[in-house]
């Protein structure tokens, strides 16, 4: 799963959001500024995979919600990232050159 998809799923794990709110949230916790095309390309793929669902529109702005399948995939992916991060931190702490 691409990194931008993980960022989108992580943002949606905090609640339903539409495009602008997603961009601002992702920028706040990761420092990554997604462009509109990148964001909606990722959302289209995630929606096709069943990880997010589009909610009824508020004007032209559709909120998105994380599905249970998307939550499970995100949890698995973040656990794997955490395991690798912990391993790397342990090795750094042991003083590897």
């Amino acid at each position: 799963m691409p990194e931008r998809s993980v960022l989108v799923l992580t943002s949606l794990a905090g609640g339903d959001r539409h495009g602008y709110a997603l961009i601002k949230d992702i920028e706040s916790f990761s420092g990554v500024a997604l462009s509109p095309g990148t964001l909606y390309g990722a959302l289209a793929k995630l929606e096709a995979d069943g990880y997010v669902q589009r909610l009824p529109a508020d004007d032209r702005r559709y909120p998105y919600r994380l599905t249970s399948k998307g939550r499970a995939v995100l949890a698995e992916r973040l656990a794997e990232s955490a395991r690798i991060a912990n391993l790397g931190l342990e090795r750094i702490a042991l003083g590897g050159t």
Binding site: G19, P36, L39, Y40, G41, A44
Partner: protein, 185 residues
């Protein structure tokens, strides 16, 4: 003008993204300009670059799938031909061709009865199979050493002789004896 330009740039995106998320992308661009003070030109450039990237990725996926499909088809045909050629390799030794062959494309399973009987007789001559009787109950013993043996063998097992002009297939050892017989004649 800028809306038409945005619509034109959105055409770079795959249809799936463009049709489902096109209005949302335009609304998001309006929001970014209104709330964040982002420049429209910069956003449109990023939009075009992303659209091209997604279009290339989408097209590459289609081409990759097509290439894989074509490669597997060609590979399957090649394996099939190789297996077919291997099945014929021990049988098909052409001695002579008096006229264009009629049965060269037939598989062993669909060969005429006289050719299958000929093969059986060759196996008996090599000692790899026991002799058997013909349809009249007479024992059949084959000594495949003469040039006329294939025709004699076909007659011995009770099958009609191949007509003149039919390609006769023999193993390599028999080709040598046939060639020597032809020279001596």
């Amino acid at each position: 003008m800028s809306r038409r330009l945005t619509c034109a740039i959105l055409r770079l995106y795959p249809r799936r993204v463009r049709q489902r998320h096109g209005p949302e992308i335009m609304a998001l661009i309006d929001d970014l300009i209104a709330h964040d003070g982002r420049s429209r030109a910069g956003l449109l450039i990023h939009l075009a670059v992303d659209g091209l990237g997604q279009r290339i990725a989408s097209t590459a996926t289609v081409w990759t799938m097509g290439a894989v499909l074509a490669a597997t088809s060609v590979g399957g045909l090649a394996v099939s031909d190789f297996a077919d050629a291997s099945a014929h390799q021990d049988v098909s030794r052409t001695v002579r061709t008096l006229a264009p062959a009629r049965h060269t494309h037939q598989t062993p399973h669909h060969q005429p009865r006289w050719r299958r009987s000929l093969r059986r007789a060759r196996m008996i001559a090599r000692g790899s199979a026991s002799s058997r009787s013909n349809r009249h109950g007479d024992p059949v013993r084959c000594e495949c050493r003469a040039a006329s043996e294939p025709l004699a063998t076909a007659a011995a097992v009770g099958q009609p002789q191949p007509r003149r002009g039919t390609r006769i297939l023999l193993p390599r050892s028999m080709q040598l004896s046939v060639g020597a017989a032809a020279k001596s004649a």
